[in-house]
């Protein structure tokens, strides 16, 4: 049983234990957001229940190209900041190809956060085996704070979705999720993800989602 805390709640008197979602003042640790308190002997942290996505290094994100410049692309990654994908970070770039023929405004990509400078200028890279331009499939948006729940404990939830429905799923840390596969199965996966988002803080969710998917599959007449 874990406790929900609000901004300003005193959660510890040991400043050395202060983890994410907390701040220290006069040797006392306070929560700085609305979240779930996660406390053990050597660390206290607050897992936020809501809030915008703040990029961190090596996050895989799903983004949408907003602008094409002479040196790269400006990408919207559903955070307070636009990200930049330099042309040299896109392996598809060839000297005789124009940048807007490779990626144009409105195109979606899977990219990785390569660098964040102190002014929160974000650089992306696509030089990774996970990274690809998205040319088909479906993108859905969820609350970024719920992303860990969609992935599940050691990826259990995402494995369940993939194995039960045999669809491709990439969960961006920014709350955008790319789905690809049989359209009926993708629709079930989408529903399941929204259900996970809604019931993120309830127990036994993985089992219930498994049951939900099996029920929807038999409703839609898809053989198991």
């Amino acid at each position: 049983m874990r406790e929900i805390v609000l901004p300003g709640d005193l959660i510890s008197t040991n400043p050395k234990a202060a983890g994410s979602g907390t701040y220290v003042e006069n040797g006392k640790v306070y929560s700085k957001t609305l979240g779930i308190l996660d406390k053990n002997e050597n660390q206290v942290r607050v897992i936020p229940l809501k809030g915008r996505y703040t990029p961190s290094l090596n996050d895989v994100v799903v983004g949408i190209v907003r602008e094409v410049t002479s040196s790269g692309w400006v990408v919207n990654i559903n955070s307070p900041y636009q990200a930049f994908l330099p042309s040299q970070e896109n392996p598809e770039v060839k000297p005789n190809k124009k940048l807007n023929d490779i990626l144009d405004i409105g195109d979606a990509i899977i990219a990785k956060v390569q660098n964040i400078d102190p002014n929160m200028r974000i650089t992306l890279t696509m030089k990774d085996k996970m990274c690809n331009p998205i040319r088909f499939g479906r993108i859905i948006a969820i609350n970024p704070a719920r992303v860990p729940r969609v992935i599940g404990k050691k990826g259990s939830m995402i494995k369940l979705l993939k194995s039960e429905l045999s669809v491709q799923i990439v969960v961006g840390k920014n709350g955008l999720i790319w789905l690809n596969g049989d359209r009926r199965k993708v629709s079930i996966a989408e529903e399941a993800i929204y259900l996970i988002e809604q019931e993120a803080h309830t127990e036994g969710l993985t089992d219930r989602i498994g049951e939900f998917i099996r029920r929807r599959k038999s409703d839609a007449g898809i053989e198991t």
Binding site: M1, R2, E3, I4, L6, P7, G8, D9, L10, Y23, E25, Y30, K32, T33, L34, G35, I36, I47, P48, L49, K50, G51, R52, T54, V60, P80, Y81, Q82, N119, M120, A145, P148, R149, I151, G152, K153, K154, G155, V171, K173, E199, H201, T202, E203, G204, L205, T206
Partner: protein, 254 residues
């Protein structure tokens, strides 16, 4: 139809609406009422009805307003034309611009703006029905909406006014007391860990003696603690599911 001043504002040690001197008007708070806002809140404080919406942190437009070291906070207090008895001309006026400014400054002390350089946090509060003390109602609603939006803050702002009517200090004045009283003093407190930490906003209209101001502060503190409890309850109610808050271990890395 402008009413004339009631003969007495205090009758037999009670106020016009039957409240005691240190009693608040009934308060109702609902969290997460707007689908497209990051955080929102509907609040009733007596006859005041207000809606607050929070967006952000998000990109700043126009670009020249952005600050490379911290987030900017924009607060808009607006009264609907139908919120008062005589139709109010729509749009910002001298009064609402002032309220927006002072409320914004109160929130700047609470929100951790340094965490989001080059971004903006927008707070919009609409007064749907106004009685007295709509700015305090708006601040209360806005701080609940900010918590709901997951904006990092040092604590929670809670606001309440104290008025002086017929020589008596009263908490949370209603319209008659505000219009015909001798003085009106809205406060906003930063509450951290269920304790009043500091004053984020204080204004005064009319005159009070030094002793009265001290007493008013004590009265306001008491009222603010009651409101804080209601704010807290409202947020908890929204996020605690009926089965309790059992949470499985979640994995933060993919």
């Amino acid at each position: 139809m402008p009413e004339s001043r009631p003969e007495k504002l205090i009758i037999d040690g009670k106020r016009l609406d039957g409240r005691k001197f240190d009693e608040l008007r009934p308060i109702k708070i609902e969290v997460d009422v707007l689908k497209r806002a990051d955080g929102s809140c509907y609040l009733e404080m007596g006859k005041n009805k207000v809606v607050a919406a929070v967006y952000g942190p998000r990109e700043v437009h126009p670009r020249h307003l952005q600050d490379p070291s911290k987030a900017i906070i924009r607060y808009r207090y607006n009264m609907a034309p139908f919120s008062v008895e005589e139709r109010k001309r729509p749009g910002p006026d001298r009064r609402s611009i002032e309220i927006s400014k002072v409320s914004k400054e109160a929130f700047e002390a609470v929100i951790m703006k340094e965490l989001f350089p080059r971004s903006a946090i927008d707070i919009f509060v609409e007064v749907l029905q106004a009685d007295a003390g709509s700015r305090t109602a708006c601040i209360n609603a806005a701080s609940v909406a900010l918590v709901d939006a997951g904006v990092p803050m040092k604590g929670i702002l809670t606001s309440v006014a104290v008025a002086k009517v017929d020589g008596q200090l009263v908490l949370d004045p209603m319209k008659e007391e505000d219009n015909y009283g001798e003085a009106d003093m809205p406060f906003a407190f930063l509450i951290r860990n269920s304790k009043i930490e500091s004053i984020a906003l204080i204004q005064m209209d009319g005159q009070m003696t030094k002793e009265e101001i001290k007493m008013a502060l004590e009265l306001a503190k008491k009222g603010a603690m009651e409101i804080y409890k209601l704010q807290r309850e409202a947020i908890m109610k929204r996020y605690v599911t009926e089965e309790g808050i059992e949470v499985e271990e979640v994995n933060t890395d993919a």
